[in-house]
Symmetry: C2
Subunit: 456 residues, 2 copies
């Protein structure tokens, strides 16, 4: 049943890759207002493509922020299920730009990979879905199931308008299940079914001492240095056993079960030394690196700065210091509650002589978990195995996708997280890339999955 569709994809591979490159070459960076036009252009690309494929009611929805692209196909009939396909066309910023080997928005093929910002996260994977829909329409003249397409432009900045839209337009977006390809396999060519995601919350700490930077000779010994004060605050929040030492942080955390520890053992996973270059891996006392990344909460400082950063020396006591913190959460932790705990701790330990402010970041998400043996999950695993020729492993991911939590919250529908990225893709870093192997076999996986969807 899938043969003709697969053949179409093979025969049209070059054109499809060219089209993907066009999509990738649009610098749709959501976090920087300088790219507002590019965002619009990327949305326009999708509108055109979806219309060309034959979707109905293709529309650009105004969100108050970056537009959302919607489309639907209802012609598979009432006996076929409806899937909500979600993805995002916005991408991460590119800094530090000097570390890219090729222009992040001039896609390049090197060593079996396609290098561009967004090639893995998420435009490459979004495109794969649309290419598969195109293939079905061009060969079968129809899609095997009903589809609602929802591709937004704010995922990298927290999808802050999406929840309201999904809520307000509940009927329009309603479906039997959702499919998202915005995650990765645990290793190259290793089918991975993601059955859990971490939640997410963040704060920013600012410590201010004097009104201005001070001459460190004249004032050293008279005032508390805000940078030093900040290091004391931060050092008190996580210890060298990688345990978060903020009161209440672990309350209600769903423990990692023995069954899960077994599933995790089966995941060959990444060689962290090789992929990251660290001298050794480090994880929470009592947990392996895999167990911690998959099933334990985290506390990270994403950026910290204060005072002089230029060439050489500048003998000042800085006026102010700042740290940006984000935590990945597991089931049982509430994002807003965690922010309150962090803030309370900071205020409790803040030294004298400085003013400490905590800003709570708006974007947040609870953790998500689905049963690994749900029929839709199992069908996805089988389709994967068919395309990749390997048994599928089941994992929980360290990352967060807020929209997953919201879809669960509004619709209570199963969400199938079917990602084709790989550990070397370098998401959020310079030299992001996506393997062509994932492109080819991923589309094959989808063809099998959609074709099998109507079977009991």
């Amino acid at each position: 049943m899938s043969e003709k569709t697969l053949q179409y994809l093979t025969e049209n591979r070059e054109q499809l890759l060219n089209k993907l490159n066009t999509f990738l070459s649009i610098p749709s960076v959501s976090t920087d207002s300088i790219h507002k036009e590019d965002i619009s252009k990327a949305a326009g690309f999708l509108e055109t493509y979806l219309s060309d494929i034959g979707f109905d009611n293709v529309e650009r929805q105004d969100t108050g922020g970056h537009p959302l692209v919607y489309a639907e196909y209802n012609q598979a009939g009432p006996d076929s299920p409806t899937v909500l396909f979600y993805g995002h066309y916005d991408v991460q910023p590119v800094d530090p730009i000097d570390q890219w080997k090729s222009d992040p928005f001039q896609p390049e093929f090197r060593d079996g990979r396609l290098y561009a910002r967004g090639s893995s996260d998420d435009k490459g994977q979004v495109f794969m879905h649309l290419a598969v829909f195109e293939a079905f329409m061009k060969t079968d003249g129809k899609l095997p199931l009903n589809v609602k397409v929802c591709i937004e432009g704010e995922e990298e900045i927290g999808s802050e308008n999406l929840y309201d839209i999904l809520q307000k337009k509940k009927e329009q977006f309603a479906a039997d299940f959702a499919v998202i390809s915005d995650s990765g396999m645990v290793a190259e060519n290793q089918p991975t079914l993601l059955y859990g995601l971490k939640g997410f919350t963040g704060i920013e700490i600012n410590v201010t001492g004097p009104d201005n930077d001070l001459h460190s000779g004249m004032y050293g010994g008279a005032v508390r240095n805000p940078v030093i004060a900040l290091t004391h605050i931060l050092a008190s929040m996580k210890n060298e056993d990688e345990v978060v030492t903020v009161d209440g942080f672990y309350d209600g955390v769903e423990p990692l079960t023995d069954h899960e520890r077994e599933l995790i053992k089966q995941v060959k996973g990444e060689d962290y030394h090789k992929s990251t270059g660290v001298p050794e891996t480090v994880s929470e006392k009592g947990y392996s690196a895999k167990e911690h990344t998959m099933g334990r909460p985290t506390f990270e400082i994403n950026g910290m700065y204060g005072g002089y950063q230029g060439e050489g020396t500048k003998t000042i006591i800085p006026s102010t210091a700042t740290a940006k913190i984000t935590c990945r959460l597991v089931p049982g932790q509430d994002p807003e509650h965690i922010q309150q705990l962090l803030e309370k701790h900071i205020k409790d330990v803040a030294p004298s002589g400085v003013t400490v402010n905590v800003k709570k970041e708006k974007l947040s998400a609870k953790a998500y978990k689905v049963e690994p043996d749900h029929p839709l999950i199992k069908k996805a695993a089988e389709s994967y195995t068919k395309a990749f020729g390997k048994e599928t492993v089941y994992v929980r991911m360290g990352g967060s996708i807020p929209v997953v939590e919201w879809i669960e919250d509004i619709y209570q529908m199963p969400i199938v997280l079917l990602g084709f990225g790989t550990p070397d893709d370098r998401l959020h870093s310079p030299n992001e890339s996506f393997p062509l192997d994932s492109f080819d076999k991923g589309m094959e996986t989808l063809v099998h999955y959609w074709n099998g969807i109507n079977e009991k």
Copy 2:
């Protein structure tokens, strides 16, 4: 004896201020190679002025870095002492530029102060000395003593070539005593004789974990975050009692004597709350702010950075984190030894999973102290009091002037630190300024001092 010279200064005040403004408008920033031409221009200004005044052997000396301006006057005769006048024509960088109310290199008079980078540190004070020499030459036709002028262009970046020059040209620069005006009074209109300076040493710490920034969802729990590692290292080096907790740091430190604590008590000093805006002052346990700034060593982080500093959130584990540290030292502490102690401590406490590097800054200086009752010191105090109408206080300063240590080391001559700056001058910060009151009364002080120099 001083009347005519003082009158000259009063009558020519406007021209002198205009000339000073010309000097101040040259952006002679030593730390940034983009200002190489300006450095040369500033040296040229001094050469011209010194020649016009009537100095002999005015020359621009090549140092291997920024030029040194030299001049001499030997016509006071062998019965008059020779003073080595040292100053610097280079200035601090101006960042953050957006906090300046007027262009740092377009001098402006506001509320009795002259606003420009270098107006206090050190061009304003250097100019005052030359103006006084001009006044003597124009009125008496001679100077009351022999003078050797040494004005360099690298003080703000550590005077790294100066020591070698003073050593190699020992005879050329030899004198009976030295005078430097590159410091400040403890309060406006409070004559202050500086009898001690702190030493100085610095290091830079770099902590590196992964080769690149990592996605904090995929790798949080697998690797040590270098920023967090750095905060633990730094927090272990100074505690909340403002005591440096590096082994051996205080070994050999000359204690603050009761006599000195008495001298310090007499210094009304600065209202730190008012001048800095801090919620409260903080100093080493067992010492007041004045005692710590004047007579105890310090440990400051001048700059600290790692990871994302832009708008909003970026969910990364940074690849690397850096901190720049400088310590002000007191008599008994050796700069290189302190660097070794800091490095040893850092290596001892460095957590696993990251690579820690310590770079030792080249520029350093030992602390300096002279006896407060030396005749040349006492004459200076009397001249001050004559001009300012107030008893002179004796203080040790928290800052360092490396050249003082070197002059002591090479020549063992008394060094008179006769500064006219004030606490509100905002050295090393935006909106640096210098009171016109200091300009006028400072020059008067110098006239009295030089005229009294030959008396026993």
